[in-house]
């Protein structure tokens, strides 16, 4: 956490020397230009004048902290000048770096320069942290800071590989502490500096990706929803850490220590940080939306970057066992990843999966995700047919109260299951029964092996053959036709909605003679056609 008071440690505070305030110049372009030109001329001899420039920041800060005016008003007033000031000071330091004034660490100039340099960096970050409204100033600050990092990398350690760890860590903390932006509905953050950092730097350069996780030490920080949202935003970004091709890994800095290629270190660090979020005592700071987002990106953005993904086992199992269908469905993906690659043995997996088939399932946005995974889970021909039959029967049962889009995805799903497990065909064709037959299926049974579904029949699907939507009805008729087709491509059926259904209808052309009319006559609309209604 960068605090104003913290700066007192390394550098002399301006507040400790109130006498300096009279000497302070004015925050105007003319003054800055004159000062900058002077300093650059005498850079080799005297650098103390830089202080007069840096002090100019205080003028702004005082107004800002006094809170006499609105934040945006102050900004519009000072923004241009501040930017000019930033650029000017940056010019001075870039000249200093180019003149290799930082090389000789014993000289007086070095100590002074270093002092002012730290002060300048601090101011840059401080502005980024406190300004909460979106403005170009803080984005420019970020750009300048990143350029300074480049200089540091080249100059601070001679010709030896060097990464400006401390400066970068400060930046990370600034990003995390920045007041700008808010938590979005999907649990991510809209912080403008963070977004800028992601698009311009993080997503492009491998070393920044690596060191971001390396320097991020969440255990030290105070956890909050805001922090988690920012971390998630970064994690959600695509990285090239796992890229095998070294050439693709573009680096922001030139001379880097060999640590940068140590994947294990990265994974360790990543795991540490993530688990610190997931295992935090105060679970309430992890918002529900963030929880969902974590589960959503788990299999792609988290599991591959962990050293021991099995550590997620408890987290996933707990999520799966939660009585929230949505969370369970979302955790399925990660769980599947663990089962597949890390040999996780999940007891009663299918029982739990069967329980997920409840009334909410087919009204959820993520039902296609569930169906895709379930299709994989039920793919094995070694599964007992009573289990498959239970799934089929349950889905059919749910379909009679579902929307056409859900039905459209269920029908090919059941078809594929029946095709793969021919023993379940008895659900459609059962001739051997006595006259006193009654449906043995138990809808309330939790265990798919005990539902007796295999002795039942899919009357629900037969009813759907008379569905009001002509295409759904026609699709349902596949069950009374010979099973000649090998399988349906599920993807074609998963993403239908009322919108797309209607769209395919409205694009149809009307025939010349119009549409078929009702020939039956009704005396009145309300009363005769619809009895017991009146205007």
């Amino acid at each position: 956490m960068v605090k104003r008071s913290k700066s007192n440690d390394g550098t002399p505070s301006k507040k400790s020397k109130p006498s300096n305030q009279q000497e302070r110049g004015e925050l105007s372009k003319d003054f800055i230009t004159i000062q900058t030109d002077q300093i650059i001329e005498n850079l080799n001899k005297d650098v103390s004048n830089i202080k007069s420039l840096i002090d100019l920041y205080d003028i702004f800060l005082e107004t800002f902290q006094s809170q006499d005016e609105q934040e945006d008003e102050i900004l519009t007033k000072y923004e241009d000048d501040l930017r000019y000031l930033n650029v000017s000071i940056f010019k001075i330091f870039s000249k200093a770096f180019n003149d290799q004034l930082f090389d000789n660490k014993l000289s007086k100039i070095y100590t002074d320069l270093k002092k002012f340099y730290e002060l300048f960096k601090f101011n840059l970050l401080f502005f980024m942290e406190i300004i909460s409204i979106d403005c170009s100033l803080i984005v420019d600050n970020l750009d300048i800071y990143m350029k300074l990092l480049k200089f540091e990398n080249l100059n601070f350690n001679g010709n030896q590989p060097y990464f400006p760890n401390k400066s970068f860590k400060d930046l990370i903390h600034t990003l995390i502490n920045s007041n700008n932006g808010e938590i979005l509905s999907n649990g991510l953050n809209s912080n403008i500096i963070l977004q800028e950092f992601l698009t311009n730097y993080y997503s492009k350069y491998y070393d920044l990706q690596f060191y971001f996780i390396n320097e991020l030490n969440l255990i030290e920080l105070n956890h909050s929803s805001n922090l988690i949202s920012k971390i998630l935003t970064i994690i959600n970004e695509k990285t090239m850490v796992l890229d095998i091709d070294q050439k693709k890994k573009k680096c922001f800095l030139k001379k880097l220590p060999s640590l940068v290629n140590n994947l294990n270190h990265y994974k360790n660090q990543f795991e540490l940080n993530l688990l610190s979020i997931l295992n935090h005592e105060n679970q309430s700071i992890l918002l529900n939306s963030q929880y969902k987002t974590i589960l959503l990106i788990l299999h792609k953005r988290i599991i591959p970057f962990m050293k021991t993904p099995t550590k997620l086992m408890d987290f996933l199992t707990d999520s799966y066992n939660l009585n929230d269908t949505l969370i369970s469905i979302l955790s399925l993906n990660g769980l599947f990843e663990l089962i597949k690659t890390y040999n996780l043995d999940y007891p009663n997996f299918y029982t739990k999966l069967y329980q997920l088939l409840d009334k909410n399932l087919f009204h959820l946005k993520y039902r296609s995700r569930f169906l895709r995974l379930t299709d994989i889970f039920l793919n094995s021909t070694h599964l007992p047919s009573s289990l498959i039959a239970s799934f089929i029967k349950k889905m059919a049962r749910l379909s009679i109260n579902s929307s056409p889009s859900a039905i459209v995805s269920i029908i090919p799903f059941i078809y594929n299951l029946l095709k793969r497990h021919p023993t379940c065909m008895i659900l459609l064709q059962n001739e051997h029964t006595d006259s006193l037959y009654s449906d043995p299926y138990n809808n309330d049974e939790i265990d798919p092996l005990k539902t007796n579904a295999i002795e039942s029949s899919l009357w629900e699907l037969e009813t759907l053959q008379s569905h009001y939507h002509p295409n759904v009805a026609t699709l349902a008729k596949i069950f009374s036709q010979p099973f000649k087709k090998q399988s349906y491509n599920l993807e074609d059926f998963l993403d239908w909605s009322y919108n797309s259904l209607l769209e395919s209808e409205t694009t149809r052309r009307l025939k010349e003679d119009g549409a078929a009319l009702e020939y039956e006559e009704f005396e009145t609309l309300l009363g005769d056609y619809l009895p017991e209604w009146r205007w």
Binding site: N401, S402, S403, Q429, E505, G514, L517, L526, W533, R534
Partner: protein
């Protein structure tokens, strides 16, 4: 056979019984009748001869003689066959040569004979013009003056080579001759005229069928000059006579007319006098003139259609209904989307409603032959036409082109007059009155439809006559929809999209109460009343069903108002399915939700698939008596519903009856048990709470009764009892006469045929070429031979001549020598 050739011959002859004893009786002598024996003998002799001339026979020896089959072409007589060919060629050549330069060929040089592009008619025309051209050019060339002496000859030429029809020349004859012909046919007055005689004779010949008409024409008599002059004089005399006769006739006619003139004048003068007494007579009857006019004005009796008896009308209607029902059934099965009848075929009754009488009069104008009456009628019509604008002028109505314009028009009238105004527009813009009216009325139909939706939202709902007007407009639109189906359907489809947009808006934005509105509900029910909702696929009903389904499935029914909308939509949806009984999952989903939102306790069961969006409190003392009243659709906009217990209980009652309707609609579904199980659970809870509420217990009873049936009849599915398919066989095909050595084998029959044919063609071609070559070679040979002969002949001739010359010369020489000797000796 042994021995010399002679011995062998003898033996052979003897064996065949040709030499030696001929009268030896053999056992099998009755072989053939005696007549043919000689021929036999000849044949036998021939055979023996052949046997003894082995050089003519050529045998193709086989390398292996395995099979016993006799193969063709092993033996042949190349010499003989060659000779035969040679002989045939020679004969042909001789024949050809014989005819060379002697035979005429017929060449058809008629115009256009070989031109297929010309029709027979055109051909004739072309030939005729060609003929005329040649004639005229001939005349122009050689005839300096038109009427010369050669006229007769020319005519003859024409007749000989010109076109004829029934033996008569088509070319225009000399006018004089034609006249003469006519005269000949008409009367025999001019028999004496000499120059007419030949012509007449030819005519007579033709008539009598004597076929020597050309005799005179082909060999025309050469006329002397005197004769010609005589002819000219006769001609002029004849013309003069003709003119005189004509003049006489004219004069006679003028004289006759002059004589009759007075009579005519007299008659003309008497006409008005005759009319007067008539008028006087008319005065006796009262308003005779008037009644005459009236009678004239009366519509002429026309053969009217026989008035149909009630029975016939009923039958006709039943037939039509049956036809429509059949078409509907076919559509319901999804067998056809096409409509059986076009909208124009439907009855025209609509127009009779408003302006019946006028139309009838205009329609049934008679066109009579009597001019007087027609005139009168026209006058009458004029009067009518004068009248009509007067009536319309007093209340001018303009057909609106948009709903705004219609509202503007309506602002001049009271609300109660809406229906009459609409009818007025429809009558004054009836399509038959003017071109373009049909389009206008089409637009007006759409406007009326929009107006119905507009009215349903307006404040006029409170008006006493509102429902009457609204229903009147609806029935108007329903009648119009038959004729302006296309326009109406298009606008409805646009409306569907608009409603869908509002639904999505309501779903996305919280508290956006864009849907359902009263006009939406009106729209849904209107679709049901206008269109055939039982169709398997329908351009309007299917998308409407989709948005209704979406509304029931997706909309959160948080307020009691929106719940009313939901119930209305659910009931309309069920009405759509009253015939086809299709299953609508959204309706069951919604009904569960609606019922649960009235249930005071939380109920969770695995079979219940929906959860209430909000809870509504029902009055504690729910009884059946207070909620029988019909339910108002306009309550949707009523704000203080939540506090009104009466309305809430009536909504609940409505809901129960909707569930009842759903049960009725789907009672035959195979999964009725599954569909109704959540309802039974919910209903039983309700009954626990409201044990005295009758509709609930009635519905519950109905459920249990139907479910009992359903349970008893339940049988496992047998959807896959298809006809067994035979297993595909892979037995090899056995082919008779298959020869593996034949490379030309092809299993494809048709390809095989083709290759066979190709081979034959190739062979035939080869043979034909060989024959041709042989022919040409033979010809060349023959020509050389002929040439040689010719030369030989020539040389021998020359030699002969030389010889004679030499002989003559020799004789002369000798003579000379002798003379010389003689002279010498004389010396």
């Amino acid at each position: 056979m042994a021995g010399s050739q002679l011995k062998q011959l003898k033996a052979a002859l003897k064996e065949n019984g040709l030499v030696g004893q001929t009268n030896v009786k053999r056992k099998n002598t009755k072989k053939a009748p005696s007549e043919s024996r000689r021929d036999d003998k000849q044949a036998v002799l021939e055979k023996i001869r052949e046997q003894f001339n082995p050089f003519e026979l050529k045998v193709n020896r086989k390398k292996t003689d395995l099979d016993t089959r006799s193969t063709k072409g092993t033996q042949g007589k190349p010499g003989i066959s060659k000779q035969i060919g040679e002989d045939a060629r020679k004969a042909a050549y001789e024949a050809k040569k014989k005819l060379q330069n002697k035979n005429g060929i017929f060449k058809d040089r008629r115009f256009g004979e070989n031109d297929s592009s010309l029709t027979a008619e055109e051909k004739m025309l072309q030939r005729f013009t060609k003929e005329r051209q040649t004639q005229s050019s001939k005349r122009n060339l050689f005839n300096l003056d038109d009427d010369n002496e050669n006229a007769e000859d020319d005519e003859d030429d024409d007749n000989a080579f010109g076109l004829t029809h029934y033996g008569k020349s088509l070319s225009l004859k000399d006018d004089f001759e034609q006249d003469a012909d006519l005269q000949n046919n008409g009367d025999d007055d001019d028999d004496d005229d000499e120059f007419m005689k030949p012509k007449k004779r030819t005519l007579e010949d033709r008539e009598s069928g004597n076929h020597e008409p050309d005799e005179d024409e082909v060999i025309p008599k050469k006329k002397t000059k005197a004769e010609v002059m005589k002819e000219v004089i006769a001609k002029s005399k004849f013309y003069k006579q003709q003119r005189q006769i004509l003049q006489e006739k004219v004069e006679e006619k003028i004289f006759d007319l002059d004589e009759e003139y007075d009579d005519i004048l007299q008659e003309l003068r008497t006409v008005p006098k005759q009319k007067k007494p008539l008028e006087f007579a008319a005065n006796d009857g009262i308003n005779y003139e008037k009644s005459i006019k009236e009678l004239n004005l009366d519509r002429r009796a026309a053969p009217a259609d026989r008035t149909k008896t009630d029975e016939e009308i009923r039958k006709e209607r039943a037939d039509k209904m049956r036809e429509l029902e059949e078409a509907r059934l076919r559509r319901m099965e999804g067998l056809e989307d096409d409509r059986e009848k076009g909208p124009d075929e439907l009855d025209d009754d609509f127009w009779i409603q408003g302006s019946g009488d006028e139309d009838h009069e205009q329609q049934e104008q008679d066109d009579d032959n009597d001019e007087d009456e027609q005139d009168d009628e026209q006058d009458d019509e004029l009067i009518q036409n004068d009248d009509k604008p007067k009536t319309t002028k007093s209340l001018p109505v303009i057909c609106p082109e948009s709903h705004e314009e219609f509202l503007e028009i309506l602002s001049n009238y009271k609300f109660e007059e809406t229906l009459t105004t609409a009818n007025k527009i429809l009558t004054s813009y009836a399509p038959r009155l003017q071109i373009g009216n049909k389009e206008k009325i089409g637009i007006f139909t759409v406007i009326l439809f929009q107006h119905i939706l507009y009215l349903s939202e307006s404040d006029l709902v409170s008006n006493e006559k509102f429902s009457e007007i609204q229903e009147g407009l609806i029935s108007l639109v329903k009648t119009l929809s038959q004729k302006y189906n296309f326009e109406l359907t298009e606008s409805l489809r646009d409306k569907i999209e608009e409603i869908h947009e509002r639904i999505t808006e309501t779903l996305q934005i919280e508290d956006a109460e864009e849907f359902p509105t009263i006009s939406d509900l009106t729209f849904f029910s209107l679709v049901g009343i206008l269109y055939s909702t039982s169709d398997h696929y329908h351009l309007v009903v299917t998308p409407t069903s989709i948005i209704m389904g979406e509304a029931l499935d997706q909309i959160k029914f948080k307020s009691i108002n929106s719940l009313i909308g939901g119930i209305f939509i659910a009931e309309t949806f069920l009405k759509y399915q009253r015939i086809s009984k299709r299953y609508v999952p959204e309706v069951t989903f919604f009904l569960q939700k609606a019922l649960l939102s009235f249930l005071p306790i939380d109920l969770t069961d695995d079979s219940i698939t929906s959860t209430p969006d909000s809870k509504f409190q029902l009055p504690k003392n729910l009884t059946s008596s207070d909620s029988i009243e019909a339910f108002k659709i306009t309550d949707l906009d009523n704000d203080d519903l939540n506090s009104n217990d009466l309305i809430k209980s009536s909504i609940f009652n409505k809901l129960i009856s909707t569930v009842d309707l759903a049960l009725d609609t789907w009672k035959d579904k195979s999964s009725l048990l599954e569909i109704s199980s959540p309802f039974i659970i919910i209903l039983s809870k309700f009954i626990e709470i409201y044990p005295n509420y009758k509709p609930l217990s009635q519905l519950s009873l109905k459920f249990t009764r139907l479910l009992k049936f359903s349970k008893d009849e339940r049988k496992p599915l047998t959807l896959q009892s298809h006809k067994k398919l035979s297993i595909a066989t892979y037995a090899p095909k056995f082919e008779e006469n298959f020869n593996p050595e034949r490379k030309s084998y092809d299993e494809n029959r048709s390809r095989q045929e083709i290759s066979k044919m190709n081979k034959q063609i190739k062979q035939e071609r080869k043979i034909a070429l060989r024959e041709l070559r042989k022919d040409s070679r033979f010809e060349a040979r023959q020509q050389i031979k002929e040439k040689k002969e010719k030369y030989a002949e020539y040389h021998s001739k020359m030699a002969k001549i030389l010889n004679t010359i030499n002989t003559v010369e020799g004789a002369e020489k000798n003579e000379y020598e002798r003379e010389k000797k003689l002279r010498k000796s004389k010396k």
